[in-house]
Symmetry: C2
Subunit: 489 residues, 2 copies
């Protein structure tokens, strides 16, 4: 199949089988960039988050919080978002169409506009190249910066507050209380999963650029003098990263040790967390050759980042950024300390330190898109969704071979015995082959068929999605069998 | 201890041990009514949601979705929120203090103001009773209705959208797609857990009245002619509900069957879901004598409800509403069908039906408060938090008897073997008695102590929080032992 059609196959599957759908879709005034997860999407997302918890949060003894999404104006004054979280825009003087200037220039001229370019610079390029409105040919006007945060008016007086554009601000403002109540020492990490909001000028491509989206963010607090005194990294030194440093145009398969020795990675701490996040995506079912950690040069980095690696995954739409791995330095705790007047330094081996921050900022929705696309295979022209069993939204389908008693009764009783502890479905409609296909398509790793032999000896047929191998299991062993086959490898 | 102090004990525990804390607390402009969950709160909340999924969603074969929080203006035109989700307010003409009129009148005169009272009615009462500003004695003015939804401006043009004031609107607007893609028949339910937002005029009392809060909502779609043809209810007919019908001032312990026969409950469908929700709170550790289902009279009901029962729990602050069980009738699908022009009827045994809705709308944050308060016991003047083991945020503490090798090494290795599959902590600081107390206080159901005998025979001491009974378990059996003791009863 063509690459373009793979995206369309995922989107069609998502809509037709209940993974996700546009929000407010029954109304003409539905704003773009908002999506709802259907039943299968909710389950896939929950399992993905559980895997993140297991392989990152728990593995690394992180603390997890869940903060409010609406935060005070001061938070974003201190973080720099009020001033710097802006897109350059211009309007058509005739049809009032709105353009994001940096994207428009890149599209029309191929010129890459750096993050820090001024409106004047961009206006000059627009004039030099005679760029006009793409719709009506009108002249561009009203050059300005558009802040991408959604403002909220709180209380009857409508005091300024904002929907957070990144979950991590909750982590920074709660840092000192968490540090004290949870009795930690540097280095340690605080994690959070939750919604963030950005008033994108042109949201697009399903889950890839949304205005309301899920992030899973990890903020590692550390003493900058000790980023290399980091024993936790020792067990992963031989693990091979897929690195693409600044200036290189291909990916190197290189061990953490070699990357550190050759100076490609600045510290053991950074190497360790890059290894953890790459391992996580391998567990999430992305083949390693489709993963890269691409280093960003100064022009590409977020305004707060001193060093940045993007974990990207290759899809039919090109390489997609899933995790921003940023060294935010003192930016966050320093900024909040300054504005709030609250002490943010901690004692580390007798020395007062303002912790630096290294973050792994993950987009969940786009990760799910990449996992779906990578799992989608066509076998004899029908879709088989080869998700890792521990990510499958439905873990097993319970199917009576024939849609009549006693098969249906027995199947219903098996279903009832499993349903509170597993995500299982019961289905008696259509031929057994058709039902296998129905559940292959949404990634169910095993089907449990109640057949003639079941009625005789209380064993069921297990059919595996990927191999289509069939074997018999005793009903009384089913729970353990399922548990074993759904374990994280 | 006094009742008042129980609330304070919970709040202090929450702040000092990382359950929850005010959001943006380091800033003076932090808006009231926003809270962050700390590490123990996140874990407690996740387990509570898992229990809800197990005992309601999965038990009843419901479908779960997760919709966007920002919805189009049309959604709230159709739902009636734009017009009716308002509080009556007035301002002081001198100091500009703002009052919620119905509450102010109730406080000053004891008169209960019905939901549907007009501003004129309230103004009259204010004048008759000479009610003035409580702060400065000024005259009240600017009588108006204040809409409690937060408005959002989407895109550069700032088109009107709103943060949802209840999660269920996502369910109603997605109803038809879910119904079709998931191939269901009436009656069936769609569930959702997520954030809702209300611009409360005076948020108060921690998690009890927040501006941003978690709801877990269940919307049951049914054919109104068949609310009594409902075989699923048969197994619960003998289950005793704690009912307080309209006009009664005490609670009756009455079986579903008797409540149906005597007409206290309108249908088997309603009886079944009331039973499910009451059973859920019993499993969540609330003693049944502290639970009641109070029927609301017309004056108290939400603007869309034709029949309403509140599940309330008794606390030191009085009875607190945790779940609104509303018969919303045709209000929702009818309203959206009318405004969107999209068909919302479905075929039920050959008949076209506009499904009616019965809902269980649960407040998660306040439920957690009630569970914490109910679990909090003082034993010899120290707090023991007697949470059901399956709700405990930390499931076991791994403690070396002495804080030196080889105890610490052995304990660390036990901790490492458990930490990815369980929520466990490792702690070597302080006497063993002090550590037991530290974890009793946050509800850890079991401590695992590595002592002298462990070094000889690889068994550990398990100490139970509530009984303080101790027993020995082989290290190799620990996983199964924990799993068994953390099962939902």
């Amino acid at each position: 199949m063509s690459q373009r059609s793979k995206y369309e196959l995922v989107m069609r599957l998502a809509l037709e089988r209940g993974f996700f759908m546009p929000s407010s879709e029954i109304y003409g005034d539905a704003p773009a960039g908002f999506w709802d997860y259907g039943p299968l999407g909710v389950s896939l997302k929950n399992r993905f988050i559980e895997l993140w918890r297991r392989e990152l949060v728990k593995r690394d003894d992180m603390l997890e919080i869940d903060g409010a999404q609406i935060l005070s104006k001061s938070v974003f004054k201190a973080s720099g978002h009020l001033e710097s979280f802006v897109d350059p825009i211009a309007k058509c003087s005739k049809c009032r169409a709105i353009y994001r200037l940096d994207k428009l220039i890149e599209e029309k001229t191929g010129i890459h506009v750096p993050e820090r370019a001024s409106l004047e610079d961009m206006k000059k390029i627009i004039e030099e190249h005679g760029i006009r409105c793409g719709r009506c040919g009108g002249e561009l006007t009203d050059f300005s910066h558009f802040n991408m945060m959604f403002r909220i008016g709180v209380g009857v007086a409508e005091l300024d507050a904002y929907l957070r554009p990144e979950t991590c601000q909750s982590i920074f403002i709660d840092f000192m209380r968490i540090y004290k109540t949870m009795r930690r020492k540097l280095p340690f990490a605080i994690a959070q999963v939750g919604k963030s909001f950005r008033n994108e000028i042109s949201p697009r491509q399903g889950l890839l650029r949304m205005r309301e989206f899920y992030q899973a963010e990890i903020e590692v607090f550390f003493n900058p003098k000790k980023a290399n005194v980091f024993a936790k990294a020792d067990p992963i030194l031989d693990y091979k990263l897929r690195l693409q440093p600044i200036g290189e145009d291909s990916v190197k398969d290189i061990s953490c040790r070699d990357a550190l020795n050759s100076g490609l990675i600045s510290s053991k701490l950074v190497a360790y967390y890059l290894a953890l996040i790459q391992q996580f995506y391998e567990k999430a079912g992305i083949p390693r050759e489709k993963i890269r950690l691409r280093e960003l040069d100064e022009d590409e980095r977020a305004f707060y980042a001193a060093e940045a690696w993007d974990l990207e995954v290759e899809t039919s739409l090109g390489w997609i950024e899933l995790v921003a791995c940023n060294n935010r330095g003192e930016h966050d705790l320093g900024g909040h300390e300054k504005l709030s007047g609250q002490e943010m330094t901690v004692l580390d081996d007798g020395e007062r330190v303002l912790p630096n921050v290294f973050e792994l900022s993950m987009g969940i929705d786009r990760s799910l898109y990449c996992i779906l696309e990578n799992s989608l295979h066509l076998v004899n022209d029908r879709i088989v969704l080869k998700l890792p069993p521990y990510l499958a939204p439905i873990q097993a389908a319970v199917l009576p071979l024939l849609s009549r008693e006693p098969f249906t009764d027995e199947a219903m009783s098996v279903y009832r015995s499993l349903k509170q502890d597993f995500d299982v479905v019961y289905d008696e409609s259509g031929s057994i082959g058709r039902r296998y296909a129905r559940y292959d398509e949404v990634g169910v790793p095993m089907d449990i068929t109640i057949d003639h032999q079941t009625l005789e000896d209380k064993t069921v047929t297990i059919r595996f999605r990927d191999s289509t191998i069939q074997l018999r299991v005793r009903e009384s062993d089913l729970r353990n069998f399922l548990r074993d086959h759904l374990k994280v490898g």
